[in-house]
Symmetry: D3
């Protein structure tokens, strides 16, 4: 990812990004139903690296399977590139864990940017104490083997009803996670920065008591004049 | 609303109000599935002012529609009376926002008492920092246009399976939101205050180790005697 | 319950216990969809004492029913043994309360170990301030009579899709609640302690930067050697 | 059950019965979400005999358990009184069967009036060919042991969110199943017969082209006159 | 509606219409989750006339309310124009009826084209015998007053997550119901007729054993030649 | 597949197969929530050939994509081996079609054994008239592009919460569809035939009025004697 793009995405919200994507005809890029375990962190930004789960068949999912170094869950945790976001398709099923505290810690130590599942994590109280962005649906103490079988690494997946292709740019904040198609990342990031400047201006004016009519969007000429002045004054 | 009623409703819980309504045969006045974004605030109390969403049709919900000052969402935000509670029927669909930080801030600055949706809000981390009661189902970053079209202002609606008529008295606390039919507000508020005094007495006695049998409800004569003495002592 | 078992269960997680149960072919012992109201407490450990709700029939569930000292909800609250965990089958329906602040306080004062419902509690902001483990799905202000009729005390029930037999050992932590069949409690507790020692070792090594391959599980001989040394050093 | 009542209930619809119960303040007596497997049959009428399932624990639900003649599912099938309706609380879970073709056939041969579950039956294509009223949510091929453990016979239960007490009068038609509290059966049956006569009159008039205004309900005097004449002419 | 358009819509499927709408950027016009009660009929085609339900408040929904000739449900049934389709917003809640056999019969006798609810109908076995297109989610014996309050006539609504504006053109077949925005009805109908001719050709060729590659869509020149010849031969 | 196995599977039910799999510790092989469109056909038996859908991204799913002969949906339809069962992972989402009448007809003509999706099919009324086994959740008129993007051919998938590996043996009857792991197909088929013979005997005896106790399972010696005699008499 372009370092400027990354820096820009660190400073904008998933809400603003969703609007920028909406303008381009993309309506389903927000991962539905996931929340951060540890909401106070900076934005999570990185390229998607994916893991796909399918429903577990009992004979293929005994506790012994983790002894295999090629088990896709363990392999993916060791191979996910630093700076990437690890995105898991758990079929929105949080009855068993997508992963637990040890694997999440390993990803953090390896320099991965964050992890998202549309299922749940075990050891969630421990995970919530890590300085690492982690998003899930709800805590899920049972081992993944109970419900999930890891089957594919870095293929296109669904996560929370959003399409996720390896290499898409994934951004998370206190509200949730959005997936930006790789080829749009630069332009969407740039536009989101501009939108954010304007929204900061609007928010300040609204806090001062101004009406949103004519201001948001700026259909009054005066709003555009004021915004230009405000930008100059703020140096943004 | 009667100022005494408003004051009384500031000091009772939604749980107590639900019981007072239950006694009157009203079982569905609690808005199901909404939580406060910022739980530590005083009660939210005000008369309902409503906005109704219908499913969005794509050609009628481009980003341009907000340039229209008559767009019902924007119009409603500017016209909702100070002191009212803004209640949104989002058909329990939180895949897209019912509103965002700027509009919520505008409502706060206009003196509105609070806002409730059975969908979700975008910019929820910002909203959670406002000293303003806001209730929703879960964060929803995508713009409302993605899923919702604002269609009617101040008509009777459903919100979280509760019936809401304009002018109904809406009360929110750390637990959720209850809707009191307008004609019952005074009597329900007065009864809830009485119930709260008694429940405070019971809670104190239970903390001291007393059994609930004969005390809650006070089927033992002694419970009634003790309560009368306690009220006198406490001046309530 | 064996006091050693109880002490052991105070120091292990529900996630670890779920894995120990998984190894024994038990896949459904985690109570799905419940969260602690007050997450910072020590583990909840006790034997299950159960209450079963059925759907409420209106003529049998007027506010007057609580005047009956034999009402199963009230009776159960007074009879639940100190040290037990009070587990309620609310059919996963949180539209009305399973109980409220006063009854929960009474259970706490009586020395009960904690309370779990797969529905919701009313007075949840008050309950969240008690130094007492309480688990539910979401807040529910309406009185239980609205939806639930208490019908049976201390019978086998379902709670969050888990089977619960009176006397089963119930353990809760910041993640949720697990149900251990009574006859397995001692062996599962002992095994979970051993697993926890090993996982603490692994977590420490992963924090130091070691790969999980060969370590978790310890398929490398070196991992077993290191663990043995670590145990000796730590005196565990 | 009073034989007259039974005969009356054979000739009225569940829709009419629901309205008669609604007038008495009972809103939840219709079993939600079940359909007849074989819709062309006469009404099912009988007193409720119940079976309660809880979630299955794997060690208690091996295929061997059916060798026990006291297994509650098998015992209930042999003990359910002729003329009764067998009602099963499957917690609305149709992932595994509540029963199968052989047990259903046995109930039919024993003279039972019908069977209802809020889960599903296996062997449903075979069951659909029996001249016997059977209601469920959807087909469910897996054996009940997969998900359900039979635990109680003839206790109060929930079925499709309706409260069911042993001895309640259960009526099924092509639309679904309604539960009439035992003490109301005679009066509700009598009223439903009267309502049905009137609705047959209305339906005939509407088919002839008359407006429903003033006719349904008969607020026009002429409607009442016409109805009286029609009754005389029809001998009803 | 243009009579040609109506005639064209009688001969095409909802599936084909959905594709024609998809090409115009409209993705949500199919009413989700409704099925015909009586599947063998000709298409239902007419302009939408709507009824909106909100959640019922008990004091406003006693059985007496139907004595009021202005009750919106009854008024709407008498005022819906012949040839229109009566579309009901029941908030996808089928726990109580949207209407019953008598009202549906009245609509049929008044020359209405059909009726759709995203809830359920009572008297469904009777309705299934009428030569009249009726679509719902599932049978619902309880009177509408139990859950629904009729509140608005002929306003924009949602039905099965589709946006419905009065005057939109509604088409139903054996698969379900689609809503065509009024201003697109003529062009969509004409295009759907053309698409249907081509699909009939393709279906015939596929039945003869031809591959879909190059044929559907007709990317092979030969496919276009064959289709032209087939049209001439068939006179379509 | 072994021809004997195939023939055996043509004569047993999915219910019996589920029990045989249950005995082997496999609890999740029944595809939940799908029904046959055309229930009167012989069993569907074949090896799984799979198609995986992910959520559709709008820019990658315009109507033009079908012009690409390599589009996975079209390619899979032409490449699925005769005799196989085409199984589609639609993420249990029936808001848009998994396929339509033309593609289903093409599969039939190519000698495929049947088709299953955990979503829905368009053109379902036409499909229901084909002499070809087709299973889905409910009709879905919108084109697959609306919600689904075909992404992988013949990889392991989930379908209705069941794990499906390419080559697994898939069996459908009037009740639904079960997935038999490839390596168990022969032994499960053989055992199911034996179970079916016994169940036919039991069903006959129950129809004659015999109790199930001691008969089903045959814990009475007499039951085993009678069965042996019956088998001889029937030549089974």
């Amino acid at each position: 990812m372009n370092p400027t793009t990354k820096q820009q995405l660190m400073g904008v919200s998933t809400a603003t990004l969703c609007t920028a994507l909406f303008k381009r005809g993309l309506h389903h890029q927000f991962i539905q139903g996931v929340l951060p375990l540890n909401p106070g962190l900076p934005n999570m930004v990185g390229e998607a690296y994916t893991l796909r789960y399918m429903p577990a068949r009992e004979d293929l999912n005994t506790i012994e399977v983790f002894k295999n170094r090629e088990h896709p869950q363990r392999k993916a945790v060791e191979e996910c590139p630093p700076g990437a976001v690890f995105v898991i398709d758990s079929r929105k099923d949080a009855r068993a864990a997508s992963a637990g505290g040890i694997l999440v810690t390993r990803l953090m130590k390896r320099g991965v940017a964050g992890i998202v599942t549309d299922g749940g994590f075990r050891d969630s109280p421990d995970i919530a104490r890590l300085p690492f962005p982690v998003y899930h649906q709800r805590p899920a103490a049972p081992t993944n083997l109970t419900v999930h079988q890891a089957i594919d690494i870095n293929v296109p997946i669904g996560c929370g009803d959003a399409p996720v292709f390896p290499g898409d740019v994934v951004v998370g904040d206190g509200e949730g996670v959005v997936v930006i198609p790789a080829h749009l990342a630069d332009e969407v990031a740039a536009e989101a920065v501009e939108m954010t400047v304007f929204e900061d201006f609007v928010q300040e004016k609204v806090m001062e008591g101004r009406s949103i009519l004519g201001l948001y969007p700026p259909t009054d000429e005066q709003s555009r004049v004021d915004f230009a002045a405000w930008r100059r004054a703020k140096g943004r």
